[in-house]
């Protein structure tokens, strides 16, 4: 069977989600592998969310927030960035390839950039192949 990756994306409501909507209203085309979850601010994205997504079998996780300085809640995106740096190290230790987790800034007017980002990431994930986390976890679960 062809590999159809699933990418879970967390988008902040004010910039990135609006940007993704703009990609839609402008009829940009991008790969259908992305599933978007709306949060009010990228600062809301709890590391647990990312880990849960991988645990549930996501092949990639994308986080998008407002550009630095543009956060609707002033500094949420900076906090997100800090957490991202930390969790990147953590998932590396878990054996998850670094390509699978990505953080990008998308403003409300960057529909095109969003579409390109999704296409790039999908391509990158297709290259690394399916995530093994879920099956590993399942095997472990069976063993225990």
């Amino acid at each position: 069977m062809n590999f159809r990756p699933t990418i879970v994306a967390f988008l902040c409501n004010w910039c990135a989600y609006t940007g993704a909507d703009l990609a839609g209203t402008s009829r940009m085309r991008y790969a259908p592998n992305i599933r978007i979850i709306r949060v009010m601010c990228s600062g809301r994205i709890d590391p647990t969310f990312i880990l849960t997504a991988f645990q549930q079998g996501a092949d990639g996780v994308l986080i998008c927030g407002c550009h630095p300085g543009d956060c609707h809640y002033q500094t949420g995106n900076y906090k997100c960035l800090r957490r991202f740096k930390l969790i990147s190290k953590y998932i590396a230790q878990m054996g998850i390839e670094p390509e699978r987790l990505k953080l990008e800034w998308i403003s409300a007017s960057e529909g095109k950039q969003f579409a390109e980002l999704v296409n790039e990431m999908t391509k990158a994930i297709l290259n690394v192949g399916p995530s093994k986390i879920k099956s590993t976890l399942e095997v472990k679960h069976l063993k225990s």
Binding site: T6, D21, A23, T25, Y30, I37, G43, D46, G57, A58
Partner: protein, 577 residues
Amino acid sequence: MEEPRIGVYICWCGNNIAKMVDVEAVAAEVGNLPNVVLAKTYKYMCSDPGQDLIIKDIRGHHLNRVIVAACSPRIHELTFRNAVEKAGINPYLFEMANIREQDSWVHTDRSEATKKAIDLVNAAIHRVRFHEPLQKRSVTVDPATLVIGGGISGMVAALEIANAGKQVYLVEKTDRLGGHVARFDLTFPHLSSAKQMIHPIIQRVENHPNIDVFKQSVIRDVSGYIGNFKALVQNGQPEPLELKFGNIIAATGLKSFDPSKIEEYGYGKFPDVVTSMEFEEILASGKVLTKHGKEPRNIAIIHCVGSRSKVYHEYCSRTCCMVALKFVNQIRAGLPECNIFEIYADMRAYGKGCEEFYAESTHRQIIFLMFDQQEKLPVIRQAEKTDDCNMLIEMDEKLSGESIEVPVDMVVLMVNMEAHDDVKDVVHAIGVSLCGNQFFIEKHPKLDPVATTTGGVYIVGTCQGPKDIPDSVAQARAAAARILATIAQGSVAVEVTTAFVNEEFCCGCQTCIRVCPYTAISFKEDKKSSEVNEVLCKGCGTCGSACPSGAITSKHFTDRQILSEIEGIMSMSYKEI
């Protein structure tokens, strides 16, 4: 908690969704999921009959959760929340799946798009199970209004509100009111006097008992929320003044583009190349003379300077064509023998009376020359002594297809309108967003051209995008209408999805207090736990993701809800349809 009874509605949106997503298949697929009582499709869910369908089903099938898979929640979440509320369900027990902007409109493979729609609806189903009823809250509205910017739109808005007997604070950055309009000599297309128009308005604003004008002032530290803002006005005094107000109108306007960036035009190099704003002043002074003090025998007006260009600004500045036509009428009156060249790309005489003005102006012996503003700009160079003119413009004339040389003594550059350099400061102060062109983004370009995504903050005039005086004035009044209606009502609904603390889990580490950008969280010594001030909290949720013990989370964006959403997305991923 009662057992969830979920109704799922999938919208065709005419063909917008149905063309790319097999809506019936989605309905069939999710119809059998646990807790889903029914799954239906309809051509336009947002229409009256569509909403009636939901209301009828809620009553008939005792639904207690509703999902609509349609367009972006940014468009219609409120519509459907109101609909379910009418049927007696708490509006927060509703969830929307965005299968249009983020699915049908961006994908080309129907089966993939349909699968994605199923995943998204499934995620919503998972999420909505954990939704909790939230109570709407309203706050009283302070009847005072803050207007930022003392140009014509700011002043008109201020007057409209003040004349209704309500207090207005008008904050102007410079030392005078009137903005750009006060610098104009005449207005188009009726050539009435701009000064005679703006001066009575300035006088009224300055003398109005309900308007406090702060000149040479900036606003800072805006805090609060719709109905109850406060801010400091800084005007050189050591002690800034604190103001309280219920609504904000931003009328900060735009500034002129600096044409010295465009090498071809030699602005700054040739003294007789002037911008449109400078030319306004030249005309008003009555002395249309070159820098050598001579009457120019040839004047050229170049349109689209910095506008409609891939290099400078892509947008059209909307007013320059008509201002240029105004100029040629003025030049013709003052210099009957002068050759006037108007170098344009498209003549945008779209306003009321403007095309007629254009037609009239063509009888004033103007030589219209067309250039391609994207291909090759005209080049201004110094003339030789033998040329009998000051400068020469070389250009490719599009209507004749000839490469020509235009003798000129004075050149007027119709400069683009662009954002102020300090636009970001205003953006941060009042919490609005900027589009790619650095204009403030309205809540919706058609439905709500003056409101913003931040409640109680309105944008009028050119800061929302270039526009002429009548359009700016109409916007100013439109914002005033909205504000007067809120003031008349006396109260307004506020953010419901704030953070809350589960005191049992709170370990008192105070991490949340450190990360909150609104100082909405405080530490209660007696309980040794954090507490959220719900009026200050804007619901960003940063505290929730920082909390090590999971004690604090955002209403409607709880960990449980988002984790279920992830599960929902993943649980169907490998199914084939």
